[in-house]
Symmetry: C2
DNA sequence: ATTTAAATTTAGACAAATCTAAAAATATGT
DNA sequence: ACATATTTTTAGATTTGTCTAAATTTAAAT
């Protein structure tokens, strides 16, 4: 698999997670920041290689083989992100771009030993689960803060948007993975919320609340 | 610079180190394991980009800019090799292939922090000097064991051939960097040598002796 | 059920990196 | 100096991954 092919597999995996139906050419073009015609070309090649199911005009989905490959790339991406944060002191908003490159390095042994060096982490710096060597992906029972019932308590376990802008905002407001979150109030008008984060009260917009994953306790 | 372009720059650098005259198309094709016609094509592109000097039929050499780029890639390669050996417990004969991939990862910050994590090493696992951030390359005063005068003593500081086969041979015979070497005898007929390595006497063929670097003491 | 709009695919082109086969330039040997 | 061998370059083709513009198919709206 080339770098580009691996990136397509990853994109199809992410777009298909959740929804059961096939991924559209346009959606894939959006995700890959490319043109639909280029996507069609690539999908064809991937179908030839037996890593995707594809029928003209009917969208695309991963085969068993394709899914295994995608999970392997995602595993590498997330392990490298952990490495960058834990061993090289990068901030969690700086690691994604570098991991996008490192995820394509080909060496089973390398990734196994990296896993070991890091102590077999289960989650990456953004709270996303790290696929195991055999390709299983723990789902976890997290939910978005914006979907939590009033007065419920939980632990912040992940982010949906992992853009640098969002992550920097969280840093600035002392919101980090592992912190306790209590939902005190919900504003009907704009869907914003009042919360306590580790006992610090604050007001968060819907934009924020709908990008923070919480695990109920 | 693409991966391929970086690999060409590195190859030109290595072929040119020592000799002052330009590198021939054929030599470069040999090093890159490709065809001379492909080399001509690539050299043209590199000349366009101002990283090599090139006149038809007259061979190729690096410009100042090209030399800087080559040294930067070599720095990355060697730092990653140190990482693989020191942090991931790879043997010195297993790291080259992986470093060939890692050397192309683009991030100044990454390599700076890796350097720091490793304690700013000066040599890679094969005894080759690591170029500094500003592009200087300590030469060192090592020489080949086969060139040492009779009865001289030194420390084994590097290998010329860093193929897995050669390195495994050294492992098997307990020859490692840092070991003391004393040249006891030279056989005129086949240029083989009798040496003591850390007090263990042994007989080494010219093939071996001409691929081991020693620093006189 | 048509018409219109949106999504998707085809056709044709391009740059990067490579190849084979043939031509041109340089080096070597007598 | 001239013929021969070697090296190097050109010409033309291929693969990958992308693009634009045009054609086709599917979906939505009247
Ligand atoms: Mn990421
Ligand atoms: Mn992540
Ligand atoms: Mn190496
Ligand atoms: Mn090395």
């Amino acid at each position: 698999m080339t770098h580009s092919e691996e990136n397509y597999l990853k994109a199809i995996f992410h777009l298909n997670k959740g929804g059961a139906k096939a991924v559209s050419t346009n959606a894939l073009a959006g995700q890959m920041d490319t043109k639909p015609s280029s996507v069609t070309d690539m999908i064809r090649r991937l179908a030839e290689k037996g890593v995707v199911h594809y029928k003209k005009y009917q969208g695309v989905s991963l085969t068993e083989k394709g899914s295994r490959l995608a999970l392997s790339v995602i595993r590498k991406h997330r392990l490298w992100e952990v490495f960058l944060v834990e061993k090289l002191s990068f901030n969690w908003d700086e690691v994604h771009e570098i991991a996008e490159q490192l995820e394509h390095i080909k060496s089973e042994q390398l990734i196994d030993r990296l896993d070991e060096l890091l102590g077999f982490p289960q989650f990456d710096p953004h709270g996303d689960p790290i696929p195991t060597k055999d390709g299983s992906l723990p789902s976890g029972d997290k939910q978005l803060l914006s979907n939590m019932p009033l007065h419920s308590k939980g632990i912040c376990v992940g982010v949906k948007d992992s853009s640098s802008a969002f992550l920097k905002f969280l840093d600035k407001n002392n919101i980090a993975l592992g912190h306790r979150i209590e939902l005190l109030e919900k504003e009907e008008f704009d869907n914003s919320v009042f919360v306590k984060v580790n006992d610090a009260p604050m007001h968060l917009s819907y934009q924020i609340a709908s990008n923070l994953y919480v695990k109920k306790i």
